[in-house]
């Protein structure tokens, strides 16, 4: 064996058609596993990296398959003829898949979100766990896996809740019409100052939305980092409730004015 060089091994393989095909097949498969990993780097975007790996792998496997068939002497022209007819049939059947694939390429280029972002698509909210060639997969807050076809994502309004580093929380509350709005403003601002995850800048703001039934509708807007958003939402609600109760600011109750008239009086 030691006297046999590599050339002799190849000559031996070529002399046997099956052995030749087996060697080519194994080498092709090994190359299809090894080469895609070498073509990508950590600096490349994960979705682009995945696409390159898949395209390279399937291309190498296809070339290996055709080469093996040629070595075994199988007439490919028959296959090509059948492939033509099959292509038309598959083309009609795979319109949706092709659309999803192309939509996936657009999403990869445009990148409205990346893996790890919290997004809202239609009525679905979840964390992006993968952006695949045909679909986007989300994990919802109640730990469900949702698969959304790329075509649907591209056609829908997608809200990326964690794209920017800070986010605003709008707390809507109703204040009785008899309350001192200046005092309410002071109470709310004090709550914001005492909560350390509530950003000092952008400063909290208070907006009067209008009159509701027996009340004034107020919007109290505060900012936090995206990571702290849920914590702020929970804490602020409780802290505002406690602060308003402590100062005796009552929540409005619907009021009705009742007119009492005599039985025979004209109304």
């Amino acid at each position: 064996m030691s006297d046999l060089g590599l050339t002799q091994i190849f000559e031996l393989a070529r002399s046997s058609r099956w052995l030749h095909a087996a060697v080519v097949g194994v080498m092709g498969i090994l190359l299809a596993v090894w080469l895609p990993r070498r073509l990508t780097s950590k600096s490349l975007h994960p979705q682009a990296s995945l696409a390159i790996k898949m395209i390279t792998r399937y291309a190498l496997l296809s070339i290996t398959g055709i080469w093996v068939l040629r070595i075994l002497g199988i007439d490919l022209s028959v296959l090509l003829g059948a492939a033509g007819i099959l292509t038309v049939a598959i083309g009609f059947a795979s319109q949706t898949s092709a659309s999803n694939l192309i939509s996936g390429l657009f999403l990869m280029v445009e990148r409205p979100f990346v893996v790890g972002d919290l997004i809202k698509v239609a009525d679905l909210t979840g964390t992006v766990i993968s952006v695949d060639p045909l679909s986007v997969k989300l994990r919802t807050f109640d730990n469900l896996l949702v698969r959304i076809p790329n075509e649907t994502v591209l056609k829908s309004n997608v809200t990326n809740l964690t794209h920017y580093p800070v986010r605003r929380y709008d707390l809507k509350l109703k204040i009785g019409v008899e309350e001192d709005l200046g005092e309410v403003r002071s109470i709310l601002n004090e709550v914001a100052i005492l909560n350390p995850i509530c950003l000092e800048e952008p400063a909290p703001s208070i907006l009067y939305l209008g009159y509701g039934e027996s009340c004034i509708e107020v919007q109290f807007s505060t900012w936090s980092t995206s990571e702290n958003f849920l914590q702020l939402k929970r804490e602020l609600f409780e802290q505002v409730q406690v602060a308003l109760n402590k100062k005796g600011v009552l929540h409005p109750h619907p009021q009705r004015r009742v007119h009492m008239v005599e039985a025979n009086a004209k109304v």
């Binding site: 920017y164 800070v166 909560n195 350390p196 995850i197 509530c198 950003l199 000092e200 800048e201 980092t225």
Partner: protein, 260 residues
């Protein structure tokens, strides 16, 4: 000013309470572990400072436990600056004319680091008072998360109230541009500053030099080598949390905040 930091012996199954400004820290030593409990008073600028033995308490929610198999009963408390920049404001915004310079004095919030063992290994780093988060940048799309200082920048050093749990910093601003610089907020890179004890016993950092050449909100930051400050009768207490790089250009000023 008496130092609240240093090395303290806490025998097994005993506890010591440290009052450091608004922070009340109780440290207990037990076989196999250290326990730390922290509470805070509402007044962030409290200047209380005390240390006393207290009874050992039951494990509670405010308590953190740290596994420690050594026999050492010594714990070190060291003041540290914040891990992020601190934003401070002058009492009233003011303008620095072209080619003019000004020095502002500001106090920075401090953290307490508890270390044990030889060499010292950090158990935890706690804020004496947790400052509010604040965003420093031209818009909410770009910028940096910082802490907001509760004290104003002062033009005169004598106007700065000495507090044992805050560090004094002198910020020299040099307007080298031909335009005026309107100062509303200033970002101080506290994470790159070292902490010293001055001859008066006060905590201070090295000076910060900001040179504005007219480039929007950015300024060239120059920090004096903190090792050299020790030559001026100042004792190094703690090195910077993050070593500054060279040729730092930082967004140091925010004149108009656009929330769009």
């Amino acid at each position: 000013m008496k130092a609240w930091w240093g090395s303290f012996e806490i025998p097994f199954s005993s506890a010591t309470e440290f009052q450091i400004g608004p922070l009340n820290l109780v440290i207990e030593r037990h076989p196999g572990e250290w326990r730390l409990a922290q509470t805070r008073v509402e007044e962030p600028l409290s200047i209380a400072s005390a240390q006393r033995s207290v009874p050992v308490r039951e494990v509670s929610e405010e308590m953190s436990r740290y596994a420690w198999r050594g026999e050492s009963q010594k714990i070190d408390l060291t003041p540290r600056l914040s891990d992020r920049a601190v934003v401070s404001r002058p009492e009233q915004p003011f303008v620095i004319p072209a080619l003019e310079r000004v020095t502002l004095f500001v106090t920075l919030p401090l953290w307490v680091e508890a270390t044990a063992g030889q060499p010292g290994r950090s158990l935890t780093v706690l804020p004496i008072y947790r400052p509010s988060d604040t965003w420093f940048g031209p818009t909410t799309k770009e910028g940096e998360l910082c802490y907001a200082s509760r004290t104003f920048c002062r033009m005169r050093r004598e106007d700065v109230v000495a507090r044992p749990h805050r560090a004094l910093t002198a910020v020299h601003i040099n307007n080298r541009a031909e335009d005026v610089l309107s100062l509303e907020r200033i970002k101080i890179p506290a994470q790159h500053l070292a902490l010293f004890q001055t001859e008066e016993g006060r905590l201070a950092t090295q000076d910060v030099n900001l040179e504005w050449t007219g480039d929007a909100d950015f300024a060239e930051l120059k920090l004096k080598d903190w090792a050299s400050k020790a030559e001026k009768n100042a004792t190094l207490v703690a090195p910077p949390r993050l070593e500054p790089g060279t040729n730092l250009v930082t967004r140091a000023f925010s004149r108009i905040f656009k929330s769009a």
